[in-house]
């Protein structure tokens, strides 16, 4: 499903003319199979988020290859990359990243709007999914009228609404208390089992890592496989 080979990325930091090169990804290799939950753990600052951002196409990697469903994505331009994301990826962020001006319902509907679906069809799809993730009651709430757990559910629903084969999550439970965290993890597990969705989850939380089928550790700019 996802195949990453020799992915490298270096940041330039510091003042102009006195930049320092900080190599963050020094040749990452890993593979994700269809229907797997993969966890990527590692120290803070080790480059986990950077890896995910390159994977998602938020920024271009300096070197290396990323194949998603057999398609090489590392060299796509911005517009191509956006179109690819819209079809292939769903994103779950640590701080939810909901649109403050839109209700829960409208937030979930947004990717369908981007895809150009008609209103009647959107409505039906969103309703169904909200039912599934248990959000029906709060459909008309704005993000600031939702609890953290509810916000993350909305965010997950938004990631799922377009039926992407792959979900990328950066610290999905990082802003939640442990009880809510359990809820969300169970939701992810059930989505994985029932729909066969593939998850790549970045976390520093051992609890989260327990639901993963496989686990990688980010270490010294490389990804090392760990026993589950």
């Amino acid at each position: 499903m996802i195949q990453v080979e020799n992915l490298q990325h270096t940041f330039l930091i510091g003042k102009r003319g006195k930049e320092k090169q900080v190599p963050v990804l020094k040749g990452v290799n890993f593979k994700v199979n269809k229907g797997e939950i993969v966890a990527i753990v590692g120290k803070s600052g080790s480059g986990k988020s950077t890896l995910l951002q390159v994977l998602a196409g938020f920024m271009k990697a300096e070197q290396g290859s990323i194949k998603v469903n057999g398609k090489e994505t590392a060299q796509l331009n911005e517009a191509e990359s956006a179109a690819f994301r819209l079809r292939q990826f769903g994103f779950i962020f640590q701080n939810f990243q909901l649109m403050p001006g839109l209700t829960a319902f409208e937030n979930i509907e947004l990717p369908l709007k981007l895809q150009g679906l008609r209103k009647a069809m959107r409505k039906e799809k969103v309703k169904k999914l909200m039912d599934k993730v248990g959000l029906t009651e709060v459909a008309d709430h704005y993000p600031n009228e939702l609890s953290g757990g509810q916000q993350q559910r909305v965010s997950i629903a938004r990631a799922l609404i377009t039926n992407p084969p792959i979900l990328l999550a950066d610290e999905p439970t990082g802003s939640l208390d442990s009880e809510t965290e359990q809820d969300i993890l169970m939701l992810i597990q059930s989505l994985n089992r029932e729909l066969g969705l593939t998850f790549v989850i970045i976390t520093h939380d051992e609890e989260v890592a327990t639901i993963a089928h496989r686990r990688f550790r980010m270490y010294d700019g490389e990804l090392v496989k760990e026993e589950a």
């Binding site: 998602a56 938020f58 911005e78 994301r85 819209l86 990243q97 649109m99």
Partner: protein, 439 residues
Amino acid sequence: MLFKDQLDFVTQHIKKNKLRVFMTILAATMGCAFLIVLASIGFGLQESLRNEILSNETVTKIQVYGDKQFTDDQVQEIKKIEHVETVLETISVNASAHSFIDDRDTTSTIVLTDMTDFEQVNGKLSEGTYPSKPNEIVVGYHFAQTLLNEADRNAIAEKSKKAEAEGTYYDGSEEGYKESLVGQTINLSLVPNTSTNEETEKMSYTIVGVMEKPSYDWMVDNTIHMDTAQKPALVENLSTLGEATGEELFYSEFNIFADTMENVKPILEKLKDGGYSVYSVTEQLDQMNVFFLVLKIGLIFVGTIAVLIASIGIFNTMTMAVTERTREIGVLKAIGASPKLIQRLFLMESTFIGFFGTLIAVIISYAISFAANAALPLILKAATGEEAFATNDITFSLIPWQLVVIAAAISVGVAMISGYRPARKATKIDVIQALRQEL
């Protein structure tokens, strides 16, 4: 994204920032309205002058300069030119006509033309027909009004005095001969302008037609028109006074008439090539149009500066909108919105501002234009005491649809251009940086 959803997206953002967007639209409105109203003065003045020229003279008339008399051959030659309707010889008499009917009399000018040609050029009469027999004449519209007796003259003198005391003017329209003149016989004697007040013997003429009312309210037309065949009779009548041989008091003027206004130009060119010195009001119109074209371009240019100033507001508003929504734009991009779509959404917003600004500006401009046209004559009249301004044949401000189109194109175009950079900026927003921003 469906167009309807794009529109929803834009209107939602506008609703969220109602006041800011309203103020920006207001600025755009003021700029555009200024442009339209300013340029409308150019259009209005041109229209006034055009009407003035066109109503003053017959548009299809080509005047011939100088008192060079045409020979019959020349007249025939000119008549053969394509689209020439007729060559009208107008003979003026350097003498006034003193006409009598019952106890009333009036003094007027007298002109002689070929009545068939004259009919062709002059067209409809307000009453009666053109002469077909000798001793038949057509008189001006005010001929009856100017036929006065002693009682009328006293009445007019009195009314004029009263009007003068009030600072106005009395035109004598209530007095005069009240019945129809058609079929009436008048006695007419001539008074040469060259001599003392000697009058010739009276001749008898029958009025068969009355001319149309002249195009200007202030014009009083009591001219007597008769056929050129009457010239020998008039010459003989005048020669009884002895001092001048009658012939010297007559002079001819030739006017060439085209069938339509469009055909004046080619005829004019042909005549000029043929060595005639000719002139038509259409030439004056052409020169005037060039002048006004330059004036209008100048006014639109000045008005555009106001639109440009308003565009600074649009630029600021859009830049703020983009900055404020950096995180939202980041999210949109992250979930797969193309840079093109984001650019379009912001361009639509600035276009919306430009479009509504223009729409309101057009409505306001028409209102201002209407009010100015209604109020300015009254103000001018009050300021100058001049009655002429009160008549509403002066257009100060005119907004033709072309001006609306030009102004709309300028102001919507400027709005789009000033929204372009902020929209580009939106597409360049870095997803990662944007998502890092706190709520």
